[in-house]
């Protein structure tokens, strides 16, 4: 077993911390991160609770392989009820924070209640303190520095929220290690609602209880060699996910100007080639690549903004390097808002990290605001004097900062696109599902993606299924439901182990099962896949109890009615209803999306229904 067998509880209302043994039966059934965390959440809250109330619970969960020598072993997940979607909130991050929490001796950190004053949590193995957060009101980066000074430990690992999370922005995230984020579902807003500024953790206990160390190390050597030799992996190391931008542009699935179009005329100014090409002034955006804990891929980008760029001129604090453009940030600050200025995109990436904003949700919300501006609904008078025109790099930079700091019109953008478009009378302009904004793939050009967006338990998400190869082959809805369902199960299991889903392409599912077996004992691929299916249905159960129905497995009318205007999928719309019928059948769910009794029984979930 590679669990630490210990859960740290913090009750901020009672100002009390204690630890309990891990529920081993749940660990066997739900493994870790989003699976195990959701099981604890189901036990601790009523799913119909107000997500911003003290009754909501915020869980920081690792997996059994987190903090081991497997490649990509740095993953952790924030779990709570989401204030963005009112469904299960589940946001996965890398960096070094998750492994450090494990090294401190904990599988999960469970935060309940609400502090009377702003606090941060200090964890040094068994020494756990709730401390006053004098750094409340500061950015993630400032708070990181302040805590580092206060605890006088350069190796402390910190997860924090910025002003957006403090002020309840529903697209606020939790940023750890300065530029990795548990980005989605507004988990930062829940942390802010608890008056919890940060969690600072130092662990010196390590992970040492691998079931079969010799076999585990042998497997690791073999699997890492295979990953190293993989051509796809080599491309990922060199270009990061950023390379997806030119692929989507060529394919015609690159959401542009709030999903009205699927190809962006400025794509080559902001793609991975542009990032490594020197400008006329000799500036190169991409500095190097960077790994999360344990990762032998290292897809992370480290970039610099041209110091002469308008966004950072005379602001030397932005002249040093930080987390740069990956595909989703490039999409969300580029095509979907029509901006082709790579320095502006990079500035938006820096400040969304600095102030703790989900870049996808922010970009798509700004895109909706820009379409509202075009319709005359949001004139400059209502948006702090800034013309929210598609393509305006100034609007992007100014609004990213305002939203991060929860200032002016930024407060409205911080509510997310669903609430913004409803407020201004055009709910049809919200591009997302269950209240969460779409990632950078068009649901008409890629119908498997459309089904994945609609059925994702945490709201629209591109990372909970993997139908890319089928979607790239043809634009129809045929044969998309089965791989969508199957890969949702597989990815649920992969996530739960504590490894990164990005290694899923370079090591097989059997490899994951073998690593789980060597580390924890008693695992094979069939059991792991069934566990993934159980986790998916557990999250679904949470949503059903929270009051969600088939109507929430939806896509905006633009995806269902407006044909793709250009590219290889020209003429397509997403045939969601047909896909949903097929998908529910495959899942063993009823047509109204409730779970059939025999499915619950097969997955051992009857007691929770």
């Amino acid at each position: 077993m590679s669990w630490q067998n210990k859960v740290l509880f913090v009750d901020l209302t009672a100002n009390r911390c204690w630890s309990e043994p891990l529920n081993q039966r749940w660990a066997e059934k739900y493994v870790g991160t989003r699976g195990l965390g959701t099981r604890y959440l189901m036990d601790l809250i009523d799913p119909s609770v107000d997500p911003m109330s003290p009754e909501n619970v915020l869980i920081f969960a690792t997996g059994p392989l987190t903090g081991t020598s497997c490649s990509t072993s740095g993953r952790w997940t924030a779990i709570c009820k989401s204030p963005l979607t009112n469904s299960i909130g589940s946001a996965n991050s890398g960096g070094k924070f998750g492994a450090e929490l494990k090294f401190a001796g904990y599988d999960l950190l469970i935060v309940k209640g609400r502090a009377k004053q702003p606090v941060y949590l200090f964890i040094d193995d068994d020494n756990v303190e709730i401390r006053p957060a004098d750094m409340w009101g500061q950015s993630v980066w400032e708070a990181d520095e302040a805590i580092r000074k206060e605890v006088a430990d350069p190796n402390i690992k910190i997860a924090a929220i910025g002003q957006s999370g403090e002020n309840g922005a529903r697209i606020a995230c939790i940023v750890n290690d300065l530029h990795r984020a548990a980005g989605r579902c507004g988990v930062g807003a829940v942390m802010g609602s608890k008056q919890l500024k940060a969690v600072a953790v130092r662990g010196s206990q390590g992970v040492g209880n691998v079931a079969d160390p010799k076999r585990f190390m042998q497997l690791n050597t073999e699997i890492k060699a295979k990953v190293a030799a993989d051509k796809g992996r080599q491309g990922m190391t060199r270009n990061g996910t950023h390379a997806m931008l030119s692929s989507m542009q060529a394919f015609g699935g690159l959401p542009t100007r709030n999903f009205r179009e699927v190809q962006f005329e400025g794509a080559d100014k902001i793609d991975h080639v542009a990032a490594r090409t020197a400008t006329d002034t000799g500036h190169v955006n991409l500095q190097t690549n960077k790994a999360c804990f344990g990762c032998t891929i290292a897809c992370g980008r480290i970039a610099k903004i041209d110091p002469e760029h308008f966004s950072v001129k005379d602001r030397p604090q932005y002249h040093t390097a930080s987390g740069g453009l990956e595909y989703e940030t490039a999409y969300a600050f580029g095509p979907v808002v029509g901006v082709d200025d790579i320095d502006a995109l990079t500035f938006a990436a820096f400040v969304t990290n600095e102030y703790g904003l989900d870049p996808i949700s922010f970009g798509v919300t700004l895109a909706a605001a820009m379409e509202l501006h075009e319709l005359g609904v949001l004139p400059a008078e209502l948006t702090d004097g800034i013309e929210l025109k598609f393509g305006s790099a100034e609007a992007l930079c100014v609004m990213a900062e305002k939203t991060g700091k929860a200032e002016g019109f930024g407060v409205e953008l911080g509510m997310g696109a669903k609430r913004l478009t409803e407020k201004y009378g055009h709910p049809e302009l919200f591009m997302g599902s269950k209240g969460q904004e779409f990632a950078g793939y068009d649901a008409r050009a890629m119908q498997g993606m459309g089904l994945g967006y609609a059925t994702s338990n945490r709201g629209a998400c591109h990372l909970k299924h993997d139908v890319f190869s089928q979607d790239m082959k043809d634009h129809t809805s045929n044969g998309k439901a089965e791989p969508c369902k199957r890969t949702q199960d597989i990815i649920s299991a992969v996530d739960a182990t504590g490894l990164c889903l990005f290694i899923n392409g370079y090591q097989s599912f059997e490899d994951f099962a073998a690593l789980m077996d060597a580390a924890c004992g008693g695992w094979d691929a069939d059991k792991l896949q069934l566990t993934g299916e159980r986790i998916w249905n557990l999250e679904k159960l949470f949503n059903l109890k929270a009051g969600l129905t088939r109507a929430d497995d939806s896509l905006p009318p633009r995806m269902l009615n407006d044909a793709v205007p250009t590219g290889s999928a020209k003429g397509s719309v997403c045939e969601l209803d047909k896909l949903l019928d097929e998908y529910y059948e495959l899942r063993g769910w009823n047509p109204d999306s409730t779970i059939k009794a025999d499915t619950l029984a097969r997955l051992g979930l009857t007691e929770l229904a």
């Binding site: 903090g67 081991t68 020598s69 490649s71 070094k96 492994a99 090294f103 190796n155 300065l178 530029h179 130092r202 662990g203 010196s204 206990q205 390590g206 992970v207 040492g208 160390p213 190390m217 890492k224 190293a228 500095q287 190097t288 690549n289 960077k290 790994a291 999360c292 804990f293 344990g294 990762c295 032998t296 290292a298 992370g300 480290i302 040093t320 390097a321 930080s322 987390g323």
Partner: protein, 133 residues
């Protein structure tokens, strides 16, 4: 004599070296106890792996009052002999690089011993940032 050679421009700060080091020496994955450390600068734009340089004129060795630090003739590594170390920490003061450290849990010091000529960190490094040559 071969030495650990670090190339910071190749390091991604994945810490596989730190895990390999602690697994080799202590059977756990525990960067806090690693004898090789990666230091990050400027939000990770520069990552520098760092371990004992195995100084020819080894001050830790000379400072030790119990002769607990000896030279492995095959590798040149300065090696702490646990049965002789009394945990007085004089070596940690003598070392100019801070690469020999006291361990409260054992009451002794620990440092890089080049894994008897087959350094685990080198094998674990995915980018060739640490080599033994």
């Amino acid at each position: 004599m071969k030495a650990l050679v670090m190339q910071p421009d190749k390091c991604t700060s994945c810490l596989q070296c730190e895990m390999a080091c602690t697994f080799e020496h202590e059977g756990v994955f525990n960067p806090a106890r690693s004898r090789i450390k990666v230091f990050e600068f400027e939000h990770g734009a520069l990552n520098v792996p760092y371990a004992c340089t195995q100084c020819e004129e080894a001050w830790c060795l000379h400072a030790c009052p119990t002769n607990a630090i000896t030279i492995n003739d095959a590798t040149g590594a300065k090696v702490v002999n646990d049965d002789k170390c009394v945990g007085c920490k004089v070596c940690t003061i003598a070392c100019p690089y801070g690469t020999i450290n006291y361990r409260p849990e054992t009451g002794k010091v620990a440092k890089c011993d080049l894994c008897d000529g087959n350094p685990a960190c080198v094998e674990a490094c995915p980018t060739g940032a640490i080599t033994y040559q």
